[in-house]
């Protein structure tokens, strides 16, 4: 019996997923595996990464503990992954941090940390992916921006700026990496039920949270809502999509 046609199939594709130990990254890893792709799950916490890999459908997946804060170590890390386990068909860069701080308490160390993890790591991954022999032709890089790139939020200036930078980098990388046959796109989620969001929620009273959640006409998003879009952009179904920022927000920005 032939398998049913699936335009989003990732069969035979090896995909690096960063931030795979929790939240959106874990959901992406799980979906890539369900679509018959092979996952290289990267993150800082070896124990939680192992739990992610254990949850994946199919075989051949691996966990690699790596600190994306070491920017200059990223391109050789990607090269090594490819040399040892085979060329990559894509990277879903889901690692990132969000810390809310009003500008009155924003300093250089805080800005450097946010930009290193949220912006520089993605650019370094692009550098890693375009090295000779690392990516298969038609490979796809998906970066995590945020609706915070489009809508200002009080006490979130550095995060907003970092996610705006991711969106700008996505377009510039898409143009530059066309010659390398690598597509680069970004997704822009609004608030999604993750551990990161749970920490945000815990700092609010129930009434404050209800007020916040009321801005979401279709409710708060789920990690799978973002993973579906990331998997689409990784797949050949998105072959002709390059340099876009796909808003995934349950209609928040529509109104």
């Amino acid at each position: 019996m032939t398998a049913p046609f699936n335009p989003m199939s990732l069969a035979g594709r090896r995909v690096l997923v960063t931030g795979a130990s929790s939240g959106i990254g874990r959901a992406v890893a799980q979906l890539v595996a369900q679509l018959d792709g092979t996952v290289v799950a990267a993150g800082r916490d070896a124990g939680r990464l192992a739990a992610t890999v254990e949850s994946l459908a199919g075989a051949g997946h691996e966990a690699v503990a790596f600190d994306l804060g070491e920017i200059d170590a990223i391109p050789p890390f990607v090269q090594k992954l490819s040399a040892e386990g085979g060329a990559l068909a894509g990277i879903a860069h889901c690692a990132g941090i969000q810390i809310g701080k009003p500008v009155r308490v924003t300093d250089q160390a805080f800005m450097d940390q946010m930009f290193r993890i949220n912006v520089e790591s993605g650019i370094a991954l692009a550098r890693g992916l375009r090295q000779r022999g690392v990516a298969v032709p038609g490979a796809s890089l998906v970066l995590l921006s945020s609706v915070s790139a489009l809508v200002g939020q009080a006490s979130n200036v550095v995060y907003c700026a970092s996610k705006g930078a991711v969106l700008a980098a996505t377009k510039a990388l898409a143009v530059e990496l066309m010659r390398d046959k690598i597509r680069v796109n970004a997704v822009l989620p609004a608030l999604v039920e993750t551990e990161m969001a749970e920490r945000f929620r815990a700092t609010m009273t129930e009434a404050q949270w209800q007020g916040y959640a009321a801005q979401y006409p279709m409710g708060i998003g789920r990690p799978e809502d973002i993973a579906n879009a990331v998997a689409f952009l990784l797949s050949d179904a998105a072959r002709w999509i390059n340099g876009i920022g796909l808003v995934i927000d349950g209609g928040v920005l529509a109104g």
């Binding site: 809310g100 701080k101 009003p102 009155r104 815990a202 700092t203 609010m204 404050q208």
Partner: protein, 77 residues
């Protein structure tokens, strides 16, 4: 961190003169204690003490001393 040192951190966060805050001060009477100050306080506690402030408990804090009580477990005696 000592409670005194943490008080100095709160003063810096609120852009208040050093030594101006006392535990008995009522938050309502401190003009600088606004919604952004609350978020700054949460970030301060997270960064300096590695503690996540509970939103309900913070909303119930009435005095500077109540703020210190929220993080008491992390303050040196």
């Amino acid at each position: 961190m000592q409670a005194e040192a943490f008080l100095r951190e709160i003063e810096a966060t609120l852009e208040l003169p050093e030594g101006s805050l006392k535990p008995e001060d009522t938050l309502e009477d401190i003009a600088e204690w606004d919604s952004l100050a609350v978020i700054s306080f949460i970030a301060l506690v997270d960064e300096k003490l590695g503690l996540a402030v509970d939103g309900e408990a913070l909303a119930n804090a009435a005095t500077v001393g109540d703020l210190l009580a929220l993080v008491q477990e992390k303050l040196a005696a």
